[in-house]
């Protein structure tokens, strides 16, 4: 490709992808839980998206981009915070001993947090304490206000799985949040 065409391609890509920069950053920030890491991951994701841009067809640019951002986040987590990645099987197995165990461990964390905190970050910390596959559906649904179809698209799982993960995430959050508010 001559490089006038490359510049044009870059210009087209920027028009498609840059409007969703805040959404991309928000997802990466929630998954990495750190400002600098979120910026690094988002930049890497944009470069990846740019390289895949030829495979992008007119359509939902936000879902397309967030899918790449999410994948980049998970690669980053696998490299830098492997312990945070609980096997997805365990997350989605409703009767799984592993899932119960992890949820229990996580609620242990949130209870400790709640004992010591009464500031505005409380809800942030409850969300951050969720395992990434539950955290991301809450962020995509409540903060990005995506529908089930779009969330399924971004996370690459069936809609039924989106619904069950949302339910599990909300149940965990309510155990921490409602309990605190009632007291």
């Amino acid at each position: 490709m001559n490089w006038i065409a490359q510049r044009r391609r870059q210009s087209r890509f920027e028009q498609v992808a840059l409007p969703h920069l805040d959404a991309a950053y928000s997802l990466a920030r929630w998954l990495t839980r750190n400002d600098a890491d979120a910026s690094d991951v988002v930049q890497e994701a944009y470069l990846r998206a740019f390289r895949y841009f030829d495979s992008y067809r007119e359509g939902d640019a936000k879902s397309w981009l967030l899918r790449i951002v999410r994948r980049t986040c998970y690669s980053w987590l696998a490299r830098n915070r492997p312990t945070e990645l609980i096997a997805l099987d365990a997350i989605d197995d409703p009767t799984g001993v592993n899932a119960a165990g992890s949820a229990q461990a996580n609620m242990g964390d949130t209870e400790t947090l709640l004992m010591n905190r009464s500031d505005l970050r409380r809800l942030d910390e409850l969300i951050e304490a969720l395992p990434p596959p539950l955290r991301e559906v809450i962020v995509l649904r409540e903060l990005q206000e995506l529908g089930y179809r779009e969330i399924a698209d971004v996370t690459g799982v069936p809609i039924g799985t989106v619904m069950s993960r949302l339910h599990r995430a909300r149940t965990a959050l309510r155990r921490g949040w409602d309990g605190e508010n009632i007291e």
Partner: protein, 251 residues
């Protein structure tokens, strides 16, 4: 009438606006009359409202956008920039001049909006060239090297001018996109400052004007069928000397 066993699994889909109209109405009726499901629906709604009200709505830092554009540009060019300035680049203040040729009708925008949009793009391209350390695509102080380099890469032919004798040596040339079209930029040095000269198709009947934006001064004038745009954070004196020297050589 819907039973609790049917209602409960649908409460969250209802909250998330994922039910069709008939289901929604049936569920609303049930919630209104059920002492168990009503508080459950309310608790879900409250959790959603609390999350939206108090969970952090992170926004991308202002610098991230330009960092990404710079990284994309490096990636698109496929190779490191040909010329990397020594230390002077880091301390360089800058002047950017865009030269416009008269064929405004073929461009996407016209009139004042065109001027504003081009001013924005020119400043943006200028910042990008500094941030990405992608100042030149062809590095040469020889106008006989720089001018032909643009041949075939753009319809626009910039004047080949080296102003070394006047204190503004030619650094090289670069191609940028302004208004979606490839546009040549000539790069000069003025002491510690960088000067970029762009060639664009001109707008119609523009008078010389000066715009201040983002800490840069942008200077725009026409000459013959060329229109010139200049952006600078250099001193007004130096800016003006460069403009005089450039116009004298270009005419």
């Amino acid at each position: 009438m819907m039973q609790c066993s049917d209602a409960r699994p649908r409460l969250e889909a209802h909250l998330d606006n994922e039910l069709d109209e008939a289901e929604r109405a049936a569920l609303d009726d049930h919630i209104a009359s059920c002492a168990d499901c009503a508080p459950e629906a309310l608790a879900l709604e409250r959790l959603r409202d609390d999350i939206r009200a108090s969970a952090s709505a992170y926004r991308a830092p202002a610098a991230l956008r330009s960092q990404i554009r710079a990284a994309l540009r490096r990636d698109a060019s496929g190779a490191p920039a040909i010329a990397r300035g020594p230390g002077w680049l880091a301390v360089a203040a800058s002047i950017m001049i865009a030269v416009a040729l008269g064929s405004g009708g073929t461009w996407l925008i016209s009139g004042d909006r065109q001027r504003d949009a081009i001013a924005d793009e020119v400043i943006d391209s200028h910042l990008r060239s500094l941030l990405a350390e992608h100042l030149t695509d062809v590095a040469s102080s020889d106008k006989h090297t720089v001018k032909p380099w643009f041949g075939g890469r753009t319809e626009l032919s910039p004047p080949g001018i080296n102003l070394a004798a006047e204190g503004f040596p030619l650094v090289g040339g670069r191609l940028d996109l302004i208004d979606g079209k490839p546009v040549p930029a000539l790069v000069y040095r003025a002491g510690k400052h960088i000067i970029n000269v762009f060639v664009l198709p001109a707008g119609h009947g523009d008078h010389p004007e000066t715009v201040h934006r983002q800490g840069y001064t942008l200077r725009h004038w026409n000459e013959g069928d060329l229109g010139y745009w200049a952006v600078s954070d250099a001193s007004p004196d130096e800016f003006s000397r460069f403009e005089h020297a450039f116009r004298a050589a270009a005419s």
